[in-house]
Amino acid sequence: MSAVKSIFRNPPLLTFVLVALVWLIAGLTLRGFGAYGHLRYLLELAAVIGIAAAGQTLVILMGGIDLSVGAIITVTAILLPLISPAWDPTGLVGIALALAIATGIGFLNGAGAAYLRVPPIIMTLAMATFLQGLLVVVAGGSAVTVSNPAVILLGQGRPLGVPSGVLLWIVVSAVVLALIHRMPIGARFLAIGANPLAARLSGVSLTRNTLILYALSGFFAGLAGILVLGMNRQGYVGIGDPYLLTSIAAVVLGGTSILGGRGTYAGTIPGAILLVTTTALITVVNASPGWRSIMFGTLILALLLVSGREARR
């Protein structure tokens, strides 16, 4: 009994148990769900959400929110093929440039929030609107095909049978978890999220950490954009749109408080897998788009009731 209670007190563990249950039941009842290829495919899809949600987790932990994640993913996916120089056979220069642009956009978000004192939700929403307009100017609304070898390797390669996207996700997870739980800067982020005034009075610079955090969120969104581009081999306007809501949902399903100060990336990882699994199951049921949308919304609400509740005041 106390074991059950401790699971309910530990949101990341609870989400992991939920994922395991869903996979077990679906694997026993649906033909083909439990196949290695299918599960690997699910993890590959979850990797994109998980990487985009890494930045989102950090920002939400600090009490902010980043609504420009989807737009940054689209910007990276469209710009990368255009800016990859032809003289570079590895394609790494293009990746570095694209990541620098994504980080720069995130930095601008942070600058708006820190220096102009625009609330993050407005700043990132306005940035998303701005980028949406800029993209149509730059790309002209047509899809671009990627020929960058490093990006294709990232999206399609399978060293030792494991998709390289999943490997990238494992590396990102290790870095983010270490950042939050093993480094002083992670403690500062959590302190700001829990009580910004107390954090500032204790000598934590709000401006500096806000800039770092939104730049990091932009960087991870850019990384997710490169991965999506490699998996699709094409970038188009709107490619990143689905990842905005899923990145926030993954964070909240993992038990991180949307108000900041409480939570961990360890919850976001199973949260991302849970979201992808739910979407896959809904697709299997073979319903009309309307019913699919209803089921997705209802499931998110139901999962929230289990793992996302704010503490009683």
């Binding site: 929110i65 708006g112 102009l116 004192r117 625009v118 609330p119 939700i121 407005i122 700043m123 929403l125 306005a126 940035m127 998303a128 609107t129 701005f130 980028l131 949406q132 307009g133 800029l134 149509v136 100017v137 809501l245 926030i248 949902a249 909240v252 949307i258 108000l259 009309s288 788009p289 309307g290 019913w291 699919r292 949308s293 209803i294 089921m295 997705f296 919304g297 209802t298 998110i300 609400l301 929230l304 009731l305 996302g308 509740r309 704010e310 009683r312």
Partner: protein, 321 residues
């Protein structure tokens, strides 16, 4: 006696704090309206004024729906889907046995009911509003898609002509809505919505039913958004399951332009209405000046950031001196 005068002093101070920045907003709105009238003198005729207010009316309604919740300390991302659902229900019920009145009642009841359910989940199950309305927006979009998979349906011609013809009916309706809002604010529950947003604990100790105020705020917000959908359906003459999508962002942008804050209690409804008018005029001006839709996005992003940043910077600059 002294207690009365001190409470009126407190009231005046609070009102001054709430109205700070509104004067500048009025000036900007007036400047844009004059610019608009100089560029397009057509607005000064009855027909031009009617068309202008008809473009503004649904935005004003959804801005009220959003501002109502932001003043209460919440937010909703389900405005767009609710507008779509209102339009779809209007277009599918008005050829039924109950005709137009039946359709209007159906739209209003749906908006109220959906809003109340979302409000009850937020208030009583203590889930964050931003996530609940996000999940809710998927469900509402799904319902709209099932009712009307592709644009169509039926709106009687006379209804379209009355609401979106050459008479300023939309403007009169807006006045009626605003008067009704003022009357509602005079009731304890109406004031409670503001109070609960400004200071939930203080409001609770003063006897405000904080949770009920929240449910009522969400229900009214749902009603306003669904009615905006009804108007959009009358304007376009049919229902469309995704027509409301841009309204989510625009409702937040207009409320923020009008000085409504995210943490509840900060801002006023008249500010929000002015914000929606400003946004509507700006969109119209850019459209008539021949800006491509792309430039509108870019300008809108810059304007929203500027509208929030400039007053903050001014405040910081004043504090330094």
């Amino acid at each position: 006696m002294s207690a009365v005068s001190s409470s009126s002093w407190l009231y005046g101070a609070i009102q001054r704090r709430r109205n700070r920045g509104l004067g500048g907003l009025y000036l900007i709105v007036a400047a844009f309206l004059i610019l608009y009238a100089v560029l397009f003198p057509g607005i000064l005729s009855v027909g031009g004024f009617s068309k202008f207010t008809q473009n503004w009316f649904p935005l004003a309604l959804v801005t009220m729906a959003q501002a109502l919740l932001m003043l209460n300390g919440g937010i909703t991302l389900a405005i767009g889907p609710l507008v779509s659902l209102g339009a779809v229900i209007a277009a599918t019920t008005m050829d039924g046995v109950f005709g137009v009145p039946g359709g209007i009642v159906a739209v209003a009841l749906t908006g109220l009911a959906i809003g109340a359910v979302i409000g009850a989940i937020v208030a009583h199950l203590r889930l964050p509003a931003i996530i609940v309305t996000l999940a809710g927006s998927f469900i509402i979009t799904g319902v709209a898609l099932i009712l009307l998979p592709r644009p169509g349906g039926f709106i009687p011609g006379w209804l379209s002509n009355t609401l979106a013809g050459h008479t300023p009916v939309a403007f009169l309706l807006l006045v009626v809505v605003l008067v009704a809002w003022k009357a509602f604010l005079a009731t304890p529950l109406g004031l409670g919505i503001y109070a609960a947003g400004d200071n939930p604990v203080g409001a609770f100790r003063s006897g405000v039913p904080v949770e009920r105020a929240k449910v009522v705020a969400f229900a009214l917000s749902g009603l306003l958004a669904a009615l905006a959908g009804l108007f959009v359906a009358a304007q376009t003459g049919s229902g469309d399951p995704v027509i409301g999508t841009p309204f989510t962002l625009n409702s937040i942008a207009a409320a923020v332009l009008g000085g409504v804050g995210f943490l509840g209690g900060k801002g006023t409804m008249r500010g929000a209405i002015c914000g929606s008018l400003l946004l509507s005029v700006m969109i119209n001006v850019m459209f008539f000046l021949g800006f491509p839709p792309v430039a509108q996005y870019i300008a809108q992003g810059l304007i929203i950031v500027g509208a929030v940043a400039v007053p903050e910077l001014l405040k910081a600059w004043r504090a330094k001196r």
